[in-house]
Amino acid sequence: MLFLQAVRIAWETIRVQKLKSFFTVIGVTIGVTFLIAVVSIVSGMGRYMKDDLIGKLIAVNSFNLRKQPDIQMGDVTEAERRDWRRRPRIQDTDVPAVAAGLPKDVLWATESSDNLNIESQYGSPRRIQSITVSESWFDIKKWGVSKGRLIAPQEYQFGAPVVVIGQDVADHFFPNLDPVGRQVRIQSIPYTVVGVVEKQGSAFGISLDKFLVAPEKSPLNRWVNPHGVIDQMVIQSTDDVGMKEAMEATRAVMRGRHHLHPSQRDDFTLETADSALEFWNKMQSYLVIAGIALPTVGLVVGAIVIMNIMLVAVSERTREIGIRKSLGARRRDILNQFLVESATLATMGAMLGVALGIGFAKLISAVSPLPAAVELWSVIVGVAVGAGVGLIAGVYPASRAALLDPIAAMRQET
């Protein structure tokens, strides 16, 4: 009851002095604004990395058997790079052995790619990422077509010169034309377009629709890889546990084929979305710490400002305190009144900060490719921290108020 009353008194006081209250809490507001904005942007980037970027490059519950990591973020030492260069490549002959060792219900496909010069009679030549794959590759990617069809099993089997192209490739080489049934030339060999893959969008402003896929046994293969070598084997299980099993099976087969001692490290890479995200996760935790540490400076300054203003408020309202005491307010009533006022003030500042922070995050995601996702926990933390700052900042002024002598307080001129 008395608490609600104290909140009401606080609200009245703040309402009467809007501008002063705003300046009082500006430190807290800025602190919370930054907290919300930084956390939103960092977690938005994280979500983006996971769902869009890595998710599109590495399919869910799948891993890539590679000579060396494809997606490299963060510091890779020169020694590591040297080690990677010395590794043996993944051979055609590794594929059946690995496939034989995999548990049931696991999909696998080979994949190799390079940027090749593509020509067509409707558009200027352009370098496009050209991928040669085995069957099941589109199943793993879960890609469908917007036009035409995917590559047929027979075409895989016989290495037919057919391609499935990305939307951007279709737009470039076949402007305002139906690409299906038309041809592109790669290294002067014609390939028939059989389908166009659904639009994949972009990641960090880079289009994911600039590619061309042909069967592994097609003539294209010799331009993307030396004979007998593949870039990677893509292996997909139905769930997380199955993926771990498949990874262990693959590791065992590959270690055997490379004659590795138990003491030797793997000389190949099993790349998962998680391993690609490892560096990002590390960076994200630093960013979150920075996102919390920097606003703390604002909050400390905010606390000092609130304490000062509350001290001024106590001395301005000494007479009011005296009157309240003469009417029966106990020390803790006065203490509560000023604590609640300080906390209410700071909480409102924090709420304003939450609103500004969300706005700021939205603004950044609107004008830049950086996405922003507002995290509920950061909103709760922001408001709670604001209230806490107000409470702490209010302790000293409120206890000064509570200890005032009512006679002296009422005698004060206003």
Binding site: V16, I323, G328, P406, I407
Partner: protein, 264 residues
């Protein structure tokens, strides 16, 4: 002069001590205020000021008493002690059967809330609050629910004929109206004593008379009223006048004795 009735003020210290009773023992319940040998000293920058030097006074229920004295006589100090805003250095103060002179700050706050209604010279209303909210304040600290507070505050304002001014802030009210709001606030908790400190000090003589009529009607309905004033014509409204001089009671007499002595 009979010594034991409420209407019998006592002029001699020895007689008053008989009436106020033994130190440490609860006084006769007919007294609402009993002080025994109250002393209060202040340290004013190393110089000890002895504001009260042993005051014995007993005030009965339903009495209407004025405390008078020149400035520096200790009447404000006595008023603060009676009002539980201050505690004596020595002596006992019994209010309504409770020994309040040894109470803690919070216990004194409780007593002020329940037992005492203050009326001040400068009104001491909260400037930003409406008349109604000002009157509600003591009930807030008594922990009364909002609806009950509003109801009782309205009643109290009606009693002082301010029902139509409830939603006005103090600066929208005349001096007399402000003082009536203060009286309503003082009475809203049904206190044992109404304590007025120079209640007409900031009012013109016509408004002063108006306020004195309010006090008179309260006294006639049985409210105990203690009023501090330095104006003899205001003190003459009370039925008993206690005069302080240099921290001691110099005279304590009934109104008729007081007025005839002063020729009022």
């Amino acid at each position: 002069m009979s010594q034991n009735t409420v209407e019998a003020p006592l002029g001699v210290t020895a007689e008053r001590m008989v009436v106020t009773g033994q130190h440490g023992s609860a006084p006769d319940p007919k007294w609402v205020i009993v002080t025994r040998g109250i002393k209060r000293e202040y340290d004013m920058g190393g110089e000890i000021v002895r504001a009260l030097r042993g005051v014995d006074v007993a005030i009965g229920r339903n009495e209407y008493v004025a405390i008078m004295g020149p400035s520096g006589s200790g009447k404000s100090t006595l008023m603060n002690i009676i009002g539980c805003l201050d505690t004596p250095n020595a002596g006992e103060y019994w209010l309504n059967g409770q020994l309040v002179s040894k109470m803690s700050d919070d216990a004194l706050a409780r007593v002020r809330n329940k037992e005492i209604g203050f009326v001040f010279q400068t009104f001491n209303l909260l400037p930003r609050a409406t008349a109604l909210h000002n009157v509600e304040l003591p009930l807030v600290y008594a922990g009364i629910s909002s609806d009950e507070r509003k109801r009782r505050a309205r009643e109290a304002l009606e009693k002082v004929q301010l029902a139509d001014r409830m939603d006005h802030r103090p600066n929208e009210l005349s001096g007399g109206q402000r003082q009536r709001v203060a009286i309503a606030r003082a009475l809203v908790n049904n206190p044992s004593i109404l304590l007025a400190d120079e209640p007409t000090g900031n009012l013109d003589s016509q408004t002063s008379e108006e306020i004195m009529r309010v006090f008179e009607s309260l006294a006639s309905t049985g409210q105990t009223v203690v009023m501090v004033t330095h104006e003899p014509d205001i003190a003459a409204h009370a039925r008993r006048v206690v005069v302080l001089r240099d921290g001691l009671i110099s005279t304590d007499e009934r109104r008729d004795a007081f007025t005839s002595r002063l020729g009022l």
